[in-house]
Symmetry: C2
Subunit: 367 residues, 2 copies
């Protein structure tokens, strides 16, 4: 098999969950937190967002080793009102801090209709969709976003100022599965670029620019001073809108909480030096939960939401396309498939996990 | 002057405000409501969003004449919790209903930190930015969105299912002016297309598709069964994200309130027949207000927000560009200019206003 089509092996979800939980325990997380973190992390693999799943486990371990992630954080509310809170994550894993914060948003929504929680002093939280979906289980609309280290140049700039800053809005339905809009505010997520880098294939125009700000199709352009482009790609195609959306995520996640924002957000790779002159603490997230019955009787809402989903699913497809998708469809279908058939991992990821297992003296796989 | 560069005349803001208020009174609005509606409508002209301002006054009058807009609505809360409400606009002008609903969001935020109001049974509300900025005056983050009649095809579809569904998020700062992200969830707003139609110029690829779903640069393609494209343009450039964002606006504005959604949203032009089988009432909006001091002390927030704005304004510009803009900069600069120098109107708009004045037996201009 050629280098650009790496060998994959397939592992049952439960095996990877046990292994990942064990790794988080080995770096000092209490068992309950380790399980929480592993569940959040592997939700990315289940939903087909492979770049954000177990492939990053080694990155989280390195953050702990570098003293940048605290395995036993004292996560706490530092400011609150009936519908809001700011949470200090105490440098914990975002995979643990985020579920804590989302739980507070949900509890506040139970009391006063909605809950909104901005988080400082956290680390990367995996995929936004996992956190937003916690609210859906309680018949609430869930919202999750996070900032991330700067890879994206604003419109008219060559400087990396924003992360890929995802937004997720998840909405419960009745008989239909939930609607889940989960999107990076860039034309393409960094994970998609990584796939092209591995294959050495050109990126479509509108994804990246080079260090002089010229459009580029080189998937490696980020390594030579280039930048990802905001959703829209260029000014004519609305990149100022993607820039504005990424900026909103940054402000709600970090200016509202006291975390770092813009070019000061700490990088995920532990070997990359921290930015100088950081104005806040750690990275920031923002969560929301809105009880649907704080607006309408739940059964009426669900009836209309089912109708919405069915009508959009029945929209006339364009030639060459079978059907119109509802946001969340591909990830949900992938989750069903991978729970049954297992999670495929690239050989390089398996090697990383085996190395990690050896170093921390546990088995791979477990189970 | 050539046909494709229509003659413009310039009118002082106060003249247009008096005239517009008088027109709304003539169609039956109480004086206070007429003033509210005129102020909201003309904020579009001041901010340079000419397509949504006084040029649409005749459209609002026609809605009243067609019995679709109620000049004396009984606008009321029909469901609420401490942080939420649903407002029934009683078929009032959105220009009156929206300020009422935003005021409720602000009052709820004063009490419990945030306020969220979904609106049914309304009409078009002008520009989202005007409504969101009401919260900024109270040191709150303001959020405004609305659905609109279907012009946009979801990714992989040829059917118009969504409006241009704008989102505005406005954030107060300290010494710096507010941050105002105000964007249609399409590649280009319909107003920009109208400008190209007037000039008979081609649209950039990625804005529209023809009735078969092929990319089109014909600015008139919407009249022959084509559709606007979601932000991103095509799947490779993230149109599924623009579609998802437009869908979120539709759901929060209409499924949450009991308004019409998707292809059932009533059209703005009174001569266009209403959709059949409408599931809700009127069009829907969604508003939010979040007190910044429900998260952090206000002065700390403003200090960081000023720092955010200054750092982004100082980002290295791309060659050929002078500076990086903060969302809201162009509209604010335009507002300052037009308050001083007046509002330019195309000859065709002036003709419409004169016709309206004659029909309703009032002077144009007033003052």
């Amino acid at each position: 098999m050629a280098d650009n089509h790496p060998v994959t092996s397939v592992f049952p979800y439960e095996q990877l969950l046990s292994f990942t939980t064990a790794i988080f325990q080995k770096i000092g997380c209490p068992e309950k937190d380790a399980r929480t973190a592993a569940t959040a992390l592997l939700s990315a693999d289940l939903r087909g967002i492979d770049s954000h799943g177990v492939a990053r486990l080694i990155g989280y371990v390195r953050l702990k080793e570098a003293g940048r992630a605290n395995p036993t954080p004292d996560i706490r509310i530092i400011h609150e009102t009936p519908s809001t809170a700011v949470v200090d994550g105490d440098s914990g894993l975002g995979l643990v801090v985020a579920p804590f914060a989302m739980r507070i948003a949900i509890e506040k929504a139970k009391n006063v209709g909605t809950g909104w929680v901005s988080v400082q002093n956290s680390n990367h939280f995996g995929i936004a969709g996992y956190h937003a979906l916690q609210a859906v289980k309680e018949d609430m609309i869930g919202i999750a976003m996070t900032n991330a280290s700067a890879l994206v140049a604003p419109t008219f700039s060559i400087e990396r100022m924003l992360g890929t800053n995802p937004i997720c809005v998840a909405v419960p339905a009745g008989e239909e599965p939930p609607f889940v809009a989960d999107l990076a505010t860039t034309t393409a997520a960094n994970g998609k670029l990584e796939i092209l880098q591995r294959k050495n294939e050109a990126a479509p125009p509108g994804w990246i620019q080079d260090k002089e700000g010229h459009p580029s199709t080189d998937p490696h352009a980020l390594k030579t001073g280039g930048a990802l482009l905001p959703l829209g790609g260029d000014r004519d195609h609305g990149s100022h809108k993607g820039y504005a959306l990424g900026a909103v995520v940054d402000i709600l996640s970090a200016v509202l909480s006291g975390a770092n924002y813009g070019p000061w957000v700490p990088p995920f790779p532990a070997y990359v030096p921290m930015p100088t002159g950081m104005p806040g603490k750690g990275i920031g997230h923002f969560f929301g939960a809105m009880r649907v019955d704080a607006f309408r009787p739940g059964n009426e809402f669900k009836h209309d939401m089912d109708n919405w989903i069915r009508r959009f699913r029945a929209a006339t497809p364009a030639p060459g396309h079978e059907k119109v998708l509802i946001p969340g469809d591909p990830e949900r279908e992938m989750e069903i498939e991978r729970l049954q058939q297992g999670i495929p991992l690239f050989a390089s990821v398996v090697e990383d996990l085996k190395g990690l297992a050896e170093k921390l003296a546990i088995k791979f796989p477990i189970g």
